[in-house]
């Protein structure tokens, strides 16, 4: 931890130094080797213009105070003064001038035979080659330098001056009593100036400063090719280290919780302070400028580092957006909107929901209309809004159709497919959930019922099997008793009863097994093409004797001799057998039994009608239930399972079974699909 802190500090200190080194190196290379450094450009700077005009101004002053030591000649009315070469001083190279003020002229052009006259000097200056020329005649500037041309007048202000005449040359300026002085007031209109100069880079003060600085930092500039790569790599490494190190503890201090916009704004303001201060500097002082630049650089560096450090921390803890004002507002709005929409979406009153939703859409649509009324954005936004509404409506309709499908499946007894409530719009989520619950409940009930039915069937079968074994003994020994010679008439009678009842018990047990199996569909059907007319005839043949015994006359009415259906031959006979057996047991003696077979387009209807012996005082539904018989006393033989078995077997073979009681008319209707 401590090591990290030291490393971190070293990084913070070294990074600005390295960056500065890189900047200086790059600059030096750029200045030394780059043509981008357009000299001409630099002569157009105000700095040069200032220097040049300063020299002119000095020369003018020299002329006013015509120096006795000047070498001079007289050209007509004008006296020409010449400042000697030895006194030549100027920041501007090859600076030649001729200044005429009233009847005096001052030049630094060496006086030769050709330059003994004003014209001669003028000619000399104007014809000099590879120099720039500036003429200021009565306040008008004509110059090769654009800056001078446009800004010269401003600098000529210097020439508009008060000069005092020196009456006593012996007295030093300190001792001069200003009250005794005489003043000459000059204006630039009073001067005629002809000048020429040579452009040279070094003469520019700003350039000079940079060069001086570069010279001072010669350790860096001389090794710039080494420094740039090394410093760059080191700086990058240090920045990388800092990026990795900063915020690695994923902790935010109070500073990191200040909204980033505020930190950013303050940083910008702090950075601006030195720049504003710098703008107020009027003079370019070398040392001051350099120190100013460094101070500014350091301030910006520190501010920037603060910003970057906190930024990295925020990004690393994934809290950047949370710590910005924009983010905070966004999250707050989002939360509030979500709250509103969830309460809307899950509120129970759908009508209210739809109204509120519609209202929101209208408000948004209205705002878009107002805010973007003249632009194409409006159409775009309205289209988005419309699309959104349309999508929602389609989604709702789609979800509704899903629910409808599910309900359809449920009515067909399929409860397997569960609705995925996640896919539903919030408004229909609860509906889907409730339907799932109902479906599940129904399915569970069905499964439970099937299970209990199956268990019941198994129980009945098992119990029946267990009953059968002792029953076998009973039947056998009763039979053996019957064959014994018994004198006692009563005993014989009793044995007869035992025989009957044990036989009935046998039948009952067998029927019970069959009924339980058939009612649970626990039978394997062997469906084949059979002729129902033939079957009925065969069955009537089988029952002929029993019917005759009760004097029942069977009448078969069939439209055709061959009507084919798909059924299990054996179980189909069981149906008819049970029904005929019923007829034999319960039909009124000496009556007719009608068996009608009617063929329709797609089905065949089998109808068995007979007149009941007993008064039927129960309903058809009750009669079809297991263990219910027409005579409630249960006096007659039979298990009461016959009709129930017949019904179940008919339905297992895809037939329809119906029992109709009309007074004493007992009617069974069955319908089967025709074999195709």
């Amino acid at each position: 931890m401590k090591k990290d802190l030291i490393l971190k500090s070293i990084c913070y200190i070294l990074i600005p130094i390295f960056i500065i080194a890189i900047i200086i190196s790059v600059c030096s290379i750029a200045i030394q080797h780059n043509d981008n450094f357009n000299e001409d450009q630099y002569y157009r700077t105000t700095g040069f213009v200032a220097v040049y005009m300063n020299d002119i101004s000095n020369a003018c002053e020299d002329l006013i105070y015509n120096n006795e030591q000047y070498y001079n000649i007289k050209d007509g009315d004008i006296t020409i003064y010449f400042t000697g070469v030895q006194e030549y001083y100027s920041n501007v190279k090859d600076f030649n001038y001729l200044i005429i003020y009233k009847n005096k002229a001052l030049t630094n052009v060496e006086l030769t035979d050709s330059t003994k006259t004003i014209e001669g000097i003028q000619k000399y200056i104007n014809e000099k080659e590879q120099v720039k020329k500036v003429n200021i005649i009565k306040g008008k500037i004509s110059a090769d330098n654009e800056m001078l041309q446009t800004n010269g007048i401003q600098y000529l202000g210097n020439l508009k001056n008060k000069y005092y005449t020196i009456t006593d040359t012996e007295t030093t300026s300190e001792e001069v009593n200003t009250s005794n002085r005489e003043y000459i007031t000059t204006s630039y209109n009073d001067f005629e100036i002809y000048s020429s100069y040579q452009e040279e880079f070094k003469e520019n003060s700003e350039q000079l400063m940079i060069l001086d600085f570069l010279n001072a930092a010669s350790i860096i500039t001389d090794n710039s090719y080494v420094i740039i790569p090394i410093c760059s790599v080191l700086t990058l490494l240090m920045i990388l280290y800092l990026i990795i190190y900063i915020g690695s503890d994923k902790k935010l201090n109070d500073f990191d919780k200040i909204p980033f916009e505020i930190i950013g704004s303050i940083s910008v303001l702090i950075s601006l302070i030195p720049l504003i201060a710098g703008a107020s500097f009027s003079d370019y002082d070398y040392n001051m400028t350099i120190s100013f630049i460094f101070t500014t650089y350091l301030i910006i560096y520190v501010v920037l580092m603060f910003c970057l450090t906190t930024l990295i921390k925020r990004i690393k803890t994934k809290s950047f957006w949370k710590t910005t004002l924009v983010g905070k507002i966004y999250f707050w709005l989002k939360k509030e909107f979500k709250k509103i929409f969830t309460t809307l979406a899950y509120s129970t009153n759908i009508t209210a929901k739809v109204i509120v939703y519609a209202a929101i859409i209208f408000i948004i649509a209205f705002f878009i209309l107002i805010m973007f009324r003249d632009s194409a954005i409006m159409i775009f936004l309205e289209l988005i809004l419309f699309g959104n509404v349309l999508y929602k409506i389609i989604k709702v309709l789609k979800d509704y159709s899903k629910i409808e499908n599910k309900l359809k499946e449920m009515t067909q007894g399929n409860n397997q497919i569960e609705l995925n409530t996640e896919e539903f719009v919030p408004e229909l989520k609860n509906t889907a959930k409730y339907i799932n619950h109902i479906s599940e409940g129904v399915e569970n009930a069905i499964q439970d019922r099937m299970k209990s039915e199956r268990l019941k069937a198994e129980l009945i079968t098992n119990v029946s099997h267990d009953i059968k074994t002792p029953l076998t003994s009973i039947i056998n020994y009763v039979d053996l008793l019957k064959n014994e010679t018994i004198e006692n008439q009563k005993a014989k009678e009793y044995i007869e009863i035992l025989d009957n009842k044990s036989q009935r018990l046998k039948k009952l047990t067998e029927d019970l097994i069959e009924a339980s199996k058939v009612s649970t569909g626990n039978v394997s059907l062997n469906m084949e093409k059979i002729n129902i007319v033939e079957l009925v005839n065969q069955a009537v043949g089988e029952f002929e004797d029993r019917f005759k015994k009760h004097n029942l006359n069977t009448i078969i009415n069939s439209t055709e001799n061959e009507i084919y259906i798909m059924a299990d031959s054996k179980y189909m006979y069981r149906v008819i057998e049970n029904l005929f057996s019923n007829v034999a047991k319960y039909a009124l003696e000496n009556s007719r039994v009608y068996i009608d077979l009617k063929k329709f387009d797609k089905s065949v209807k089998v109808e068995i009608k007979n007149i009941s012996k007993e008064k039927l005082n129960i309903s058809a539904d009750e009669l079809m239930q297991r263990f219910v018989r027409g005579d409630k006393s249960r006096a007659t033989e039979g298990s009461g399972l016959g009709i129930s078995i017949a019904q179940n077997l008919t339905e297992l073979q895809n037939g329809k079974f119906n029992l109709i009681l009309d007074g004493d008319l007992f009617k069974i209707q069955m319908e089967f699909e025709l074999y195709k």
Binding site: D466, T472, N531, N537, G541, E542, E544, S569, M572, Y573
Partner: protein, 229 residues
């Protein structure tokens, strides 16, 4: 004198069967479980076995399979299970007949008698002209005599004709109409149950249990046939 082994864990049932069969002059051997049955079969000269399926230790099916490995004597299975699948299973593993509990004593005796007759007379009948044979059913067309497992059956002429026609075409199913046309040599007009009544009468005469016929089978909704044996 034929030796019959009765196997059932219910002693009273064994006793009852013994009483019935002794009346028919059979020598009875008794066993109360599978292992005892196998032992008895090995020790004695048994001609027929009545075997209960549901027994402790070794059940009837296992016993049957084991006995069948060495002996080819007729075995009648006895069971409280009446489902078709149980019957088919029993017959498939080598039983000759299947009787469900509670059984009719007369039916059991009839089946035992038939089985013994068939077993002992097997291959005895010499080929004769005009004799139609199917399993235990023999129709002597010259004498107009029908025997089933060696027992004489009295049939009316119509019944005889129907049975003869079906036996001649054994294994084939005939509808009422077809039987009518072939036996009466006449045109069949309307659905009728005369043939059905005759068939039932024949079954009652030739079958031990007319409801579970062995020879004359009813294919409900299709017709009738003599099972090919």
């Amino acid at each position: 004198m034929y030796n019959i082994l009765v196997v059932d864990d219910d002693k009273e049932i064994v006793k009852a069967i013994e009483i019935y069969l002794e009346r028919e002059n059979y020598q009875i051997y008794k066993a109360y479980d599978g292992n005892e049955a196998i032992k008895q079969t090995e020790e004695n000269d048994i001609h027929l076995i009545i075997l209960d399926i549901m027994m402790p230790n070794k059940d009837g099916i296992e016993t049957l399979v084991e006995i069948r490995k060495s002996k080819n004597i007729p075995i009648i299975l006895l069971s409280a299970k009446s489902e078709d699948i149980d019957k088919i299973h029993g017959l498939n593993v080598g039983a000759d007949d299947y009787v469900t509990k509670p059984f009719n004593p007369e039916e059991l005796i009839a089946r035992v008698n038939a089985m013994i007759r068939r077993y002992t007379n097997f291959g005895e009948n010499k080929e004769k002209n005009g004799v139609i044979k199917n399993g235990g059913l023999i129709i002597d067309d010259e004498l107009k005599k029908v025997t089933i497992d060696g027992k004489n059956i009295k049939l009316t002429p119509t019944e005889y004709n129907i049975l003869k026609f079906l036996t001649e075409n054994k294994g084939k199913v005939f509808s009422i109409e077809e039987i009518y046309q072939n036996v009466w040599k006449d045109e069949y007009y309307a659905a009728d149950n005369v043939i059905a009544v005759h068939i039932r009468h024949i079954r009652e005469k030739i079958e031990i249990n007319p409801k579970e016929p062995r020879y004359l089978k009813v294919i409900w909704g299709v017709g009738y046939k003599i099972e090919k044996l």
